[in-house]
């Protein structure tokens, strides 16, 4: 078993691999159940990645971002 993929690309690649393996019908029961479980984790990861870029366009200027980043450490400290 691989640990949850760190990037969207590797996650989808592994997911496709799992689906191909399952579609081939060669996986035994134990392997099928394991693959299904691993695949569900990957789907959740990918869905979260997609949600992150679909939350709604947020536009800000560089100076605003810098100001926000400079402010946040003090907020965390207070």
């Amino acid at each position: 078993m691989s640990t949850p993929a760190p990037t969207y690309e590797s996650a989808t690649a592994r997911l496709e691999e799992i689906v191909r393996r399952l579609d081939s019908g060669e996986a035994g029961l134990r392997e099928t159940l394991d693959l299904c479980q691993e695949g569900r984790g990957l789907v959740e990861f990918c869905a979260a990645e997609l949600d992150a870029v679909a939350a709604g366009l947020q536009e800000l200027r560089l100076d605003e971002l810098v100001a926000r980043l400079e402010r946040s450490p003090t907020e965390e400290a207070s």
């Binding site: 989808t12 579609d23 299904c36 789907v43 869905a47 997609l50 992150a52 947020q58 810098v66």
Partner: protein, 462 residues
């Protein structure tokens, strides 16, 4: 002019000793006249930003230390008969002429220009040669590669864009990201994109975007322009900064025919800001959602079927042993029948053999023991007759009786009178049965000394 300049002449500035004030139009005319009196000369440099209007052709003559705006009458320019593309940006030319000043008017801007009366093409410009030299230097230092080796996120959450604040590029980037279905965080870093402040401002913007640590990819976008306009994107410091930036930079500067140096050092070059925005988000989030959805569907399908299908397969397989057993049983029965048939055949054969053997033995025995058997039979018959003669039962049949003591062991004979008296009760056995008799204990007087032993005692006598 609605009013005569002289009638509305204002008073001068108090304390200022210069003559005047004069009307500006008059001064502009004097300036033009003054400039036109300057010596007419030949100068050389590179042609940049050639533009033609109906009446005049305009361009800049540049070298590394300065530039002069030039204007040439259109008919004089056309009379040169130059090929269409012979005055591309950077072309080295020699021009003849002198300074001139267009005084403008109420609705037209004044402008200074070098009035060109003659022109000769001298060769490719130094600026382009210097640009190529810088390109070779950066390439030799391996600075074209680092950006290309950076990992590119396929779904960046935060994108930085360096562009002019009022430019069309900004709208193009927004529209392209919208079409992609990308709706993450967009950080605008506005910077001048064509004057001498441009290169340092863009460099700083890039560094700041990278320094936030949140921007995953940067788009540098600028619409088309002359190569001179794009020189900011050939700046050495800017290009070295891009090359060593840890965030991938996608450049879309000028038209696709232009080749500013930033194109070489960036992770990717695109012909338009639209393409650059698409390159920044390589995956289409909407389509990806469908793809992941399909994969999830397949997983769910297999998850459900994993058990059901196997249960069915097991049910099919579970019938196999029964079939096997039936087959084996049939075969065993067949074998059994064969064995029985074989055994029957064999025992019949043996029985026939044994019968013959017994017959032979019988005959052999008869022939071997024949005469002796006859003699033995005769001896036995004689012994049997002798035995029968002595059988007490035969004696009883003849009328004798046996006296037995019923208290002793069975068949204990009482053979003396004294014995009978002592027994008290005796059992007298006749041929047809037995009877008990009591014996008088008193002794008998001396009997007849010669009794006939052959006369049986009177039946029933005590």
């Amino acid at each position: 002019m609605s009013a005569g300049p002289a009638s509305s002449r204002p008073s001068g500035i108090p304390g200022v000793t210069e003559p005047g004030p004069f009307p500006v139009g008059a001064y502009a005319g004097k300036l033009r006249d003054y400039l036109r009196q300057r010596a007419r000369v030949q100068i050389f440099g590179e042609v940049w930003n050639l533009k033609a209007s109906k009446a005049k052709v305009y361009f800049e003559l540049r070298d590394t230390s300065g530039a002069v705006p030039c204007a040439m009458w259109r008919d004089a320019f056309d009379a040169l008969g130059l090929p269409a593309d012979s005055l591309a940006d950077g072309t080295q030319v020699v021009v003849a002429g002198g300074p001139d000043y267009y005084v403008g008017g109420r609705a037209a801007s004044p402008s200074f220009s070098f009035d060109v009366t003659g022109l000769r093409v001298a060769g490719e410009g130094d600026l382009l040669a210097q640009l190529e030299a810088l390109r070779r230097t950066l390439a030799a230092e391996g600075l074209f590669e680092p950006q290309k080796r950076l990992a590119r996120p396929v779904l960046p959450r935060t994108i930085g864009v360096v562009t002019g604040e009022g430019g069309k590029a900004r709208d193009d980037v927004l529209a392209a990201l919208h079409r992609r279905g990308w709706a993450g965080r967009l950080v605008w870093a506005f910077a001048p994109v064509q004057d001498r402040h441009a290169a340092p401002a863009i460099t700083r913007a890039l560094q700041d975007l990278a320094a936030t640590g949140e921007v995953e990819v940067i788009v540098v976008a600028r619409g088309g322009g002359s190569m001179a306009d794009l020189f900011a994107f050939c700046d050495e410091t800017l290009c070295r900064t891009v090359a060593l930036l840890r965030v991938p930079v996608i450049a879309s500067v000028g038209h696709h025919t232009d080749r500013p140096l930033i194109d070489d050092v960036a992770a990717e070059r695109c012909s338009t800001p639209t393409h650059a925005a698409e390159a920044a988000v390589p995956l289409h989030p909407g389509r990806e959602r469908e793809r992941v959805g399909r994969a999830a569907g397949r997983l769910a399908h297999h998850g459900r079927r994993a058990v059901i299908d196997r249960a069915r397969a097991l049910a099919v397989q579970s019938a196999a042993p029964a079939r096997h057993v039936r087959r084996e049983r049939a075969r065993l029965h067949q074998r059994l029948r064969e064995l029985r048939a074989a055994a029957t055949r064999q025992t019949d054969a043996r029985r026939a053999g044994s019968g013959r053997f017994a017959l032979v033995l019988d005959r052999k025995a008869a022939s071997a023991a024949g005469p002796e058997r006859v003699d033995r039979r005769r001896g036995l018959d004689a012994a049997l007759a002798a035995l029968a003669a002595h059988d007490p039962e035969r004696t009883l049949a003849r009328g004798y009786a046996l006296v037995e003591d019923p208290n002793g062991p069975p068949a204990t004979l009482v053979t003396t009178a004294e014995g009978a008296r002592q027994a008290g009760i005796v059992r007298i056995r006749f041929a047809d049965g037995a009877a008990h008799a009591a014996v008088d204990p008193t002794p008998e007087p001396e009997p007849d000394p010669h009794p006939d032993p052959t006369v049986p005692p009177t039946p029933g006598a005590p």
